[in-house]
C-alpha cells in the first residue's frame, strides 16, 4: 500500500529535477531544508531521524541534492522526506514536507479492533513493516 503523507503524495514520485525545483523554492523563501528518514511508516510517527543538520543560507539547491543522494545511498531502502521549516515570526513551523524516497515494496497496514468495556471498540493501525526489528524492515523486500 502506497503511503500518502505530506505534499505531492498522490502524484507519481517526483523526479530529481522536480525535487530540485521544490528545494530551490524552499531556499528562495528562506526556509531551512531538512532531510529525514525512517522505516516506521505509521502516520503518527512524526519525528523521523535527521540526515545531518538543517540546511539554510544556501543560494542553490545543488548542495542539498548531493546530501539527498548520499542519504539515498545509505538508506535507500527506507522512507526519506524533505521538509522546509519557516523560522519567521508567526510561522515557526514546517511549511512543506514531501516524500522523496520510498521502499520498493510497501506492505501496508492492518486495522486492529480491540473490544473494550461496554461493547466499545478501539481501533488502531498496525504497520506490517514494524513486525521486524528496526533497520531490517525493508532490507530484502
Amino acid at each position: 500500500m502506497r503511503i500518502t503523507q505530506g505534499c505531492f503524495s498522490f502524484l507519481p514520485d517526483l523526479t530529481d529535477e522536480q525535487i530540485t525545483a521544490q528545494v530551490q523554492y524552499c531556499l528562495d523563501k528562506g526556509w531551512a531544508v531538512n532531510i529525514e528518514f525512517t522505516d516506521d511508516p505509521h502516520p503518527r510517527n512524526t519525528y523521523w531521524e535527521m540526515w545531518g543538520l538543517p540546511m539554510f543560507d544556501l543560494p542553490d539547491a545543488a548542495g542539498i541534492m548531493r546530501e539527498l543522494a548520499e542519504c539515498r545511498r545509505v538508506y535507500g531502502d527506507r522512507y526519506i522526506r524533505i521538509s522546509g521549516f519557516d523560522s519567521s515570526h508567526g510561522w515557526e513551523s514546517v511549511r512543506i514536507s514531501f516524500i522523496v524516497n520510498r521502499p520498493k515494496d510497501e506492505p501496508g497496514f492492518r486495522l486492529d479492533r480491540q473490544e473494550a468495556v461496554g461493547r466499545n471498540l478501539r481501533y488502531s493501525t498496525h504497520a506490517y513493516a514494524v513486525e521486524r526489528p528496526e533497520g531490517e524492515r525493508y532490507a530484502d523486500r
Partner: protein, 307 residues
C-alpha cells in the same frame, strides 16, 4: 497544430546570428566594464575574452544540437599582492552567470581556516558545508597553497584537498573553483598536488602594474570617492609611486589604496586646522601637494639615500 509548432522550436537550429547571440547575453557590456574599470592587466583581459568567446560558441553549439561537453571552468590566479586577483574573481562570477555557466553568480571567498578543521573528523563536514554554500556559484580560495603543508604529514589540509578535488570533478556544472595566490608558492603547491593542476583549465598570471597604471588606478579610486588631485599633487604622487615601489612590502594597488586613505586623512586634518574659513565643494574635493609630500615614504627614502 501546437504540437507541430513545438517540434519546430525544438528542432536544432541551422544558422545562428553570432552578433545577436552576443548582444542577447550582454557579454559586451561586461567586457567593456572590465576594460574601463580595471586598469592594465592586459593578459588577464585577453584570457577572459577568450573564455567568454569559448562559452559563447559552446552555447551556440548547444542550440545547434552539436555535441557539447561542459567546459572545465576551474581557474587559478597567480600574481603578486594587490594585482587584482580578488576583484577579477568577483567579475568572473558575474560573467559566468550571464553566460549561463553558473546558476546564481555569487562568490564565496574562503581561506584555509574555513576549509580545514582542528581535529580528526572536523575537516570533512567543514569543507562540505562551504562547498554546499558555494554550489551554483564560484568558490574563491585565497592563498590556496596554505591548504597543503608538506612539513606536517598529519595535517588535515590533505583531507580538504581530496574532497575539493572530488567535487571539482563530479559537479563541474554546479561549481566553479578559483584558486589564487602568489606565483612561486602556487607553483610549488601544484607540483605537490598534480591532481589540482590537471583539473584546472585556466592558469592566469597577473602582472605587476607599471607606474603609469598605478597612477591611473589612484585617479580612478579618487574619482569614485569624489576627490581629485591638483596638478602639483599629481606630480608629487608620481614621485611617491616611484619611491614607494623601491621600498619593502610594496603590494601594488593595495599600497596605493592605503596611501590614498592616509592622504585623505592629512587633507582632512589640513582643512580642520583652519577653522575660520568658508569652504567650497572644490576645497573639500581637492588634494594638494602638501598632503602627498607629508608622507613618511619620502623622509624614509631620503634617509636611505643618505646612509
Amino acid at each position: 497544430m501546437t504540437i507541430a509548432k513545438e517540434k519546430e522550436l525544438e528542432a536544432p537550429l541551422e544558422t545562428v546570428d553570432v552578433r545577436r547571440e552576443f548582444a542577447d547575453l550582454g557579454i559586451g557590456a561586461v567586457l567593456d566594464q572590465l576594460d574601463s574599470e580595471l586598469i592594465g592587466l592586459a593578459p588577464v583581459k585577453t584570457r577572459i575574452r577568450e573564455i567568454a568567446a569559448l562559452l559563447l560558441v559552446e552555447r551556440i553549439r548547444q542550440k545547434m544540437a552539436l555535441a557539447t561537453t561542459f567546459p572545465t571552468l576551474h581557474m587559478s590566479f597567480t600574481g603578486n599582492p594587490g594585482t587584482g586577483k580578488t576583484t577579477v574573481a568577483l567579475r568572473m562570477a558575474s560573467i559566468l552567470h550571464r553566460l549561463g555557466f553558473v546558476r546564481r553568480g555569487h562568490v564565496i571567498s574562503v581561506t584555509r581556516d574555513d576549509l580545514v578543521g582542528q581535529y580528526i573528523g572536523h575537516t570533512a563536514p567543514k569543507t562540505k558545508e562551504i562547498l554546499k554554500k558555494a554550489m551554483g556559484g564560484v568558490l574563491f580560495i585565497d592563498e590556496a597553497y596554505y591548504l597543503y603543508r608538506p612539513d606536517n604529514e598529519r595535517d588535515y589540509g590533505q583531507e580538504a584537498i581530496e574532497i575539493l578535488l572530488q567535487i571539482m570533478e563530479q559537479q563541474r556544472e554546479d561549481l566553479v573553483v578559483i584558486l589564487a595566490g602568489y606565483g612561486e608558492r602556487m607553483e610549488k603547491f601544484f607540483q605537490s598536488n598534480p591532481g589540482f593542476r590537471s583539473r584546472i583549465a585556466h592558469h592566469i598570471d597577473f602582472p605587476d602594474y607599471s607606474d603609469v597604471e598605478l597612477l591611473a588606478i589612484a585617479e580612478l579610486m579618487l574619482q569614485q570617492q569624489n576627490y581629485r588631485l591638483s596638478s602639483s599633487a599629481r606630480d608629487a604622487f608620481i614621485r611617491y609611486i616611484a619611491v614607494r615601489k623601491t621600498q619593502p612590502l610594496f603590494s601594488n594597488a593595495r599600497s596605493i589604496r592605503n596611501a590614498l586613505d592616509r592622504i585623505r586623512l592629512r587633507q582632512a586634518n589640513r582643512i580642520v586646522s583652519r577653522l575660520d574659513r568658508v569652504l567650497t565643494a572644490d576645497d573639500v574635493m581637492s588634494i594638494e601637494a602638501g598632503d602627498v609630500l607629508a608622507s613618511r615614504v619620502f623622509s624614509k627614502g631620503a634617509m636611505d639615500k643618505e646612509t
